[in-house]
Structures are given as structure tokens and as C-alpha cells.
Symmetry: C2
């Protein structure tokens, strides 16, 4: 058995090149950009009026003029006008081009207009006041968004502004989720007393959906031949296979031997952690591109934890993203004796800018319902058994709470 | 003009009843539950074996027996067996029913099986060890998930377990996003020097998508007749209309007068805030159900900020969700003189369980590109002008960083 740190290193060293694809801008939210986005013009692209009011020439102002004949109106979206007489003014609207021969905008609040004459009620103006000068935010050809940026609404706004109606992003890997276990029936079936309904495939599909990611779900019973036939197909067709169940010491835990038969190279089996000790990880290098196989223990809490602690960060790394490690402060002291990394279920709260983790211990890795009470796993290191209130530890969040 | 606090109170008092709909489990992630979910059986539903190994009767153990003849095997998903002789054992697999007449599971690691005889290598066992007792996690008819819960992968797992292949959730309101402004051309058009491309509708659509929410986008030029005709249609058809532009003091800012003409009741126009001062909000009560109208100022940063500070919390409240207010500590001192609530753009970082907000001041509400550098707005109150490092303030996050 290896440590959690070793397991993470091994998993993270096995990223798969995902390739790129083009998607329409309206489908790009949450995707990872695969091109640098340059400014197609200066930002702003002209001297832009920032307030509704009048535009004047500062020379006239300096010469003492406070009343200006209104020559015309410059609206947003109209070609640039020019002030013909320095002592006059032009009414200007927010978003319009500053008219030629003007350099000061005085807002309506400081002006009274009667009979086409604007009288200014303030005593001072600054040159270029209320003017957003061409190129002050960004210059033509500046890199606005760098490759590998995850696209949030702010980036979408910029992509629209520079005319990117299609965007080059990282292709999503093809993900299969496979549950095994004779005790499992589907959601719309009525289980016998000795059966339960499948939940892991639904949970993992949902977790991927929350990342904007599709996945195909399968179920295979614990029969060697069926497992081999079906897994051969799936491993051949998908980039990532997430299995749940069949990796422990049970008499019907056939998954590791079947995977080795399919030429999947085992990279580890067993991690010094609770839950999720029997976690098996391997890669098949055959064919045009490799397939990564995460064979997770079937207990629902183990599956859930291993997905968030290993598979999701790995997937993000394949896409060129770094997972920022969030830390939280333990709200009360906690003891855990076994020499294993313990992924403690916690509820997260925010107190005066401080992230607190309140332990919500359940009844072990079979206690699926306990996940409802918590938001995250707090990763407590294996080399200690007493953890004090106020100490800060990495947190693996599965519920967005803010 | 009213304060930000008053504006929030008014907006939040105008929630719209969204109604309910049924969706398939695979589409329920992110939705808000509209029914209580009860346990359809005990959790677990039988005395469940927690480890692969052998099941014995503790009476035999207490009488000193350490070698057990293996009578049979109880696998997961198979009907319950019974131990016929107290001095024997049955091999048991994780997830299986505990056989009748047994009450202790000893894991394979502590047992050696040869010639159908299991020899136990440990000296002590506890009654019911490695047995997950029926009903210890939850009882039949316990409420597992309460109405108004937002469905994350953990809830999806539970819904699958109790057989909810369709789920009753809050219906999504019909949202229209409408940009106005003659200076705006579409993303696939080449703007004239005095024009810019539309970005607000794309940004808001993306922000709603990130919430798993659809929205229809429209653009209307600054012509009174077109505005009236088109807005009449939209207000009649949608539950929520988010406008951007046309609400300031400009000569072509027709939106407020047109909305009043369409019998939209103005609830406020103008908020003591920067950005977003000209924000207009109203409700039309006509027809079968009311329509809420958020007429946001057209500057991209203003639109963005008002959406996240007002529209999104309002939408969540319509769906029965409370927005938890996140707080962050200002990383450096900051000054803002005007007597307005200032929504300062900040970059968020986590330092030892402490959320820090680093100011990223841009060049005003037209500086769209500055949104790229920041993650959130820090809400600085209007009654002060000096803000010290380490002070904590509410934060309105637009980018998920963890």
C-alpha cells in the first residue's frame, strides 16, 4: 500500500492529452480556452463619452466661457461629429464618440439648457473629464485572455467584444462510469430485501455534470465473462473509465484481474487512506491514445471521496487547469488513531472571512446519507492522530456553498 | 436615490412564485427540490456485511472456538443464508446480508482458510463487529432531504437510492435578456469605428448558464416605437426581463418611460452605489403572473455587478434558496470618498483558511477587461471612506475559484 501523497503523484503524472475543438460562444462557459485572445482594437476603440451631458473645448472654458450654444447632438452609435466653433458645445451621450474639437464632458447634472444655450453651474472642470480615452484599458493586439483560462462569464463578455463567435477550447475526454456488483438494481426497479439500488453511477454523473461534463453510465454484474467482454469494449472506446466496486478482497472482486487481462497496467492497488483503501489505478497504453482507469471501491462514500480527491483533479489537469487547494480550519478537536490519511466529512461555514470545517462523522463508508449533512472532506495527515481546533488542513469540497 | 440596503430590500420583497415541474433524475443536478424525500426502507435495509471475510456466531467464539468449518458463501446481492451449525462459519462479502445465526464478521486479513477450515489469528472480536446494522443510518420514512434543498451530487445519490427516477423541482422562470443601444453590433459583425460589439447579453447568458439556467437574448435599438413594440411582447411572455442600457439621463434613454407606458410599476430608479447608479427596477402585475424587470445600466461592469448583486440573489430567492453571504478580509487599505456604496473589484485568495480580497481597481464601469483580473466585488459601505487592511466585508463572487 502506498500513501495518499504517492497515489496523488502517480495519478497526476498520468494525464492524457485531450486535444482541442471549436465550440460556439454560447456553449463555451466552463470550458478551457486553447488559444490566446488578442484585442482586435484598442479598448476603448475611440475616445468614449462616459456621462450624458455636453462636450466643450477646454480653451473656451479657460477663456472664461460658461455659456455654450448647443450646435448639435452626438449619440452613441453615430459617426463622430465635429464642433465647428470653439465657443459652442455639442450634447453628448454615454457611449458616444467624443466629438472632434472637444476635450471636456460636463454632465447634465451640472448644466442647464434653455433655448439651445447650455449654462454650466460648476466652477471647475478638468481636461478630459468624463472621457474614457482610446486605448487606456487595453491596446490593439494585447493578450486579453491567455490559453488555459477557464471561461467564466467575464471571459465570455470579452470574447463577445472581440468578435469570437466560435472559440477553440480543450476537447472533453470521453468518460465512462461503470458500477459493478450483483446486489445493485436500477433506480426504477424495486430491490429485493438483499439488494439495493445503484447510486454511485448517478452520483458521479451528477458530479461531472456540475463540471459541465458528460459521461456515459454502465452497470456490469459480478460475472467474469460479462465483465471481461463489456470492459474490453468500454476500455477500447473511452478515454477515462471510472469503475466502482469489485476491487477489494471479496471472492467476486474480479475487477483487478480482468483489467490486467485487458493489458491495463496497474500503477497501484491500495492506498493508506480511509475511506477508499482498496482504490486501484492503472493505464492502458494500447491503441491510438491511452485510457486511464480509476477503479474505485464500491462503498458509496469511498467512491465519492476518491472521485473528488483523485479523478476530478486529474481531469482538470488533463485540461490544463490547476486545482487550487482550499484550506479550512478545524472547528473542534478531532482524533483519528489508525496510521491512515483520514478524509473527514465536514460542514463548511464562513466566519469573519475564516473558513471553518465542522466534523460530521457518519457511520463509515457505507453511510451514504451522511454526505447530505456535509459539504467536503478535510484531509487529515496519516502521521498524527490528534488534530486541534483552529489547525488548517486541505479541504476537498463536493458542494458549492457560496 | 435610495441606498443599496433599501434597493436590496425592495428587490427581495418582489419574488415571483415559480411553480414546480418534474424532471428526470439525470437532469436534476443544480435544481431545487420541491418535495420531501423519505427513506423508502431502513438505511441500511438489512444487517450489512462491511468487510470481506467470515461470519461466525459469537457464542461459539466465547466458548473458545477459533477454527470454523466453512459451510458456504454469502455474496452481495444473494438472498440471505443461515448458518446451520453454531460452531461453523460462512464466508461473507462486503455488501452482503449478514447470514442468519451469525453476528460477527472477521475480515480475511485476520483469517487463514485451508481445506474448508478458517483459522482466526486475532484474539478478540467484538459482537457485531464489521456489521452495519439495519436502520442505523436512517429509518424507514425518515425525511432524508427536505424541500428547498439545492440538488448536488450527494443528494442525487440519495434520490437514486430511494428510487426517485423523476424528481419534483422548482420550475425555472422564463428569463429574457435585452440589450439596448444604437452603438452595439452583434458578435459576428465588424463594428464601425463608433460602434462596439454586444457583450452584456452574452455575459448574462453565461452567468445564468453557470447556474444551470437558460435565458433568451434580444437586442433593440434606441428607437421609441421599436422599443415599445418589442418590449411589450417580451414583458408579456417572460417572467423576468433583464435590460441593459437606456436608463441613464441620455436623450435616447427611453427605457423608463417605455416601461411605465407598458404598466410596469417603477419601484426605484437610482441607487447610491458605484458602479450601477442608474439601476431601475419595477414589476408588472398584469396578466396571469407578474413580470419582474431589472433595467440595468448599460456599462458592462455596471450590468455585471447589478446582475450578481441583485438579480441572481433575487432569482435564488424565487427558487426558495438563501444566498449565503460570503465575507472576505481586505488585503490592503483602500479609500473611496463619494457617499456611495462602492462595489470594489477584488481578486480572492485563500491564506491559511482566511479569505483575502486584493483590490483590482480598473478604469471605471466601462473597463470590461478589468473583470478578467478580478473574481468578485467587495461591498464597501457608503457611510465611510477609509477601509483598513484586515477588515471583513461582504463579497459578491462572480468566478468560482476553488
Amino acid at each position: 500500500m502506498i500513501s495518499v501523497e504517492e497515489a496523488i503523484d502517480i495519478v497526476m503524472s498520468q494525464t492524457i492529452e485531450a486535444g482541442t475543438e471549436k465550440v460556439p460562444l454560447q456553449k463555451a462557459t466552463g470550458r478551457v480556452l486553447q488559444e490566446n485572445i488578442l484585442a482586435d482594437r484598442d479598448f476603448p476603440s475611440f475616445n468614449r463619452v462616459m456621462m450624458d451631458g455636453i462636450a466643450v473645448n477646454s480653451k473656451a472654458w479657460q477663456e472664461g466661457r460658461r455659456e455654450f450654444y448647443v450646435e448639435g447632438m452626438q449619440t452613441a452609435g453615430a459617426p463622430q461629429q465635429a464642433l465647428s466653433q470653439e465657443q459652442n458645445c455639442i450634447e453628448v451621450m454615454t457611449g458616444a464618440m467624443l466629438p472632434q474639437n472637444t476635450d471636456v464632458v460636463i454632465r447634465y447634472e451640472d448644466v442647464k439648457i434653455e433655448d439651445k444655450v447650455a449654462r454650466v453651474s460648476i466652477d471647475e472642470v478638468k481636461p478630459l473629464q468624463n472621457v474614457h480615452l482610446k486605448g487606456t484599458d487595453r491596446k490593439l493586439d494585447d493578450v486579453l485572455i491567455h490559453k488555459n483560462q477557464k471561461l467564466s462569464p467575464a471571459e465570455i463578455a470579452i470574447l463577445a467584444t472581440v468578435g469570437k463567435h466560435t472559440v477553440e477550447v480543450v476537447r472533453h475526454l470521453k468518460v465512462a462510469i461503470v458500477s459493478t456488483g450483483d446486489e445493485l438494481v436500477d433506480v426504477n426497479e424495486m430491490p429485493h430485501p438483499y439488494q439495493i439500488r445503484r447510486s454511485n453511477t448517478y452520483a458521479l454523473q451528477s458530479a461531472l455534470q456540475a463540471e459541465g461534463h458528460e459521461a456515459q453510465a454502465f452497470h456490469i454484474n459480478d460475472e467474469k465473462d460479462a465483465l471481461e467482454t463489456k470492459l474490453r469494449e468500454i476500455v477500447g472506446e473511452y478515454d477515462v473509465v471510472i469503475l466502482s466496486g469489485g476491487v477489494s478482497k471479496g471472492k467476486k472482486d474480479y475487477v483487478p484481474e480482468i483489467l490486467e487481462k485487458l493489458n491495463v497496467k496497474k500503477l497501484f492497488h491500495g492506498v493508506k487512506q480511509r475511506p477508499g483503501k482498496p482504490f486501484w489505478f492503472g493505464v492502458r497504453e494500447e491503441g491510438s491514445s491511452p485510457t486511464a482507469i480509476f477503479a474505485l471501491p464500491g462503498n458509496p462514500v469511498s467512491t465519492f471521496m476518491c472521485f473528488y480527491a483523485y479523478t476530478l483533479p486529474w481531469l482538470r489537469k488533463c485540461y490544463g487547469l490547476n486545482t487550487q487547494i482550499l484550506e479550512a480550519n478545524l472547528a473542534e478537536e478531532f482524533d483519528f488513531q489508525p496510521p491512515l490519511t483520514y478524509f473527514l466529512q465536514v460542514k463548511l461555514t464562513m466566519d469573519q472571512g475564516q473558513l471553518l470545517a465542522v466534523p460530521v462523522t457518519g457511520k463509515g463508508s457505507g453511510d451514504l446519507a451522511n454526505l447530505l449533512e456535509a459539504d467536503a472532506f478535510l484531509q487529515l495527515p496519516s502521521d498524527r492522530s490528534a488534530f486541534k481546533a483552529g489547525e488548517s488542513f486541505p479541504v476537498i469540497q463536493y458542494r458549492q456553498i457560496f
